[in-house]
Symmetry: C2
Subunit: 208 residues, 2 copies
């Protein structure tokens, strides 16, 4: 679509801004902008302001580096959570995923990524040092490495494992195995092999 054919500069600006978002092309951007034009002024103002406020006012928790409205996030400042277990995750979305399982009552540590030399991300770019500090502070009994099961995830796991060698902290990782709902036929052989090796007593698979 020809760019100089927009009937209004304001429209063009808004379309340009929307089409910078991932997965939104110029046609979708135009559709979204025309949708907003049909909404009440208050609706659109509150949309625009919610984005501006978000970016300007959001904080990162100084303990776990999760995003937060305050200096210390809701999870870290919740006295009913178990502060002796830390679940190490890549990003904010993974915190939300683990929270949604309702199976974890400890704290988190958001690395902000995983080691990926291809993308120029080394340990120094991640919140690994602050993780070690948290562990050195003493009260942590266990850390759970909950990173992606990719080569980069494994590398990061191994890096953290090496850094913590000799320290008195239990290091565990998520169980690997056949996903619930998966058919064996379509499960890759490495996953299947590992889940055979790490087979569990049938009673424990019945859930609690």
């Amino acid at each position: 679509m020809n760019i100089d054919k927009y009937p209004s500069r304001l429209l063009e600006n808004a379309v340009n801004e929307f089409s910078k978002l991932p997965g939104i092309g110029r046609k979708s951007a135009l559709r979204l902008v025309l949708h907003l034009l049909r909404q009440d002024k208050e609706e659109v103002n509150s949309f625009g302001n919610s984005l501006i406020q978000l970016r300007n006012e959001i904080k990162h928790c100084k303990v776990c580096h999760n995003i937060s409205d305050s200096e210390t996030c809701q999870i870290c400042s919740n006295p009913s959570r178990n502060d002796s277990v830390i679940c190490v995750v890549e990003n904010i979305r993974d915190v939300m995923s683990v929270e949604n399982t309702h199976q974890f009552n400890g704290l988190y540590h958001v690395l902000g990524g995983i080691i990926s030399p291809m993308d120029g991300i080394g340990p120094a770019e991640l919140e690994i040092d602050s993780l070690i500090e948290r562990i050195n502070s003493g009260q942590v009994i266990e850390i759970i490495l909950a990173l992606s099961t990719t080569m980069e995830g494994d590398t990061t796991n191994f890096y953290i494992y090496r850094k913590l060698k000799g320290k008195e902290v239990k290091i565990s990782t998520l169980a690997r195995g056949v996903s619930i709902g998966d058919e064996l036929e379509y499960t890759d052989e490495i996953t299947l092999g590992r889940s055979l090796m790490n087979r569990v007593p049938f009673e424990s698979s019945l859930g609690k």
Copy 2:
């Protein structure tokens, strides 16, 4: 995804706002918001402000009802356009589509929709009276009805045609026929039938 699991109220607000947009669910909204969080503050501010400005400052051209930055749009106020031909379209997007063909140098009239009793849209909700006024004003020689080729479009065409009966203005409509690039096998029989009835001399199909 559980709504009370968002780590920040600001994040939740922004996700809520994004997921009001058509075709954007809560998961995509979260992905877009996290993308914005990684951008510079200036970027996000200009995004938010572009939407607020758009909604608060945009005008509708008082002649053709297209959106515009000024009282009269760029097209209506352009002296090199032929003001004796008016192309009648449903919405702003259709103006842009016709403009992109570079085959039309007249003016437009944006109805703001088409007659659709199912959706409660009658002639009074549309800019039909103002179209008639424009024609009554005298200098219009031809109007081109460029509405959707649906039942609603045909109804609207016929309504306008009836309203203009007896007036000295030529009423034409877009040519119907086989789309360029279409295979006959996949062309519906009504289109094919009409394009047979309205066949044109071969020379004229060679373009100019």
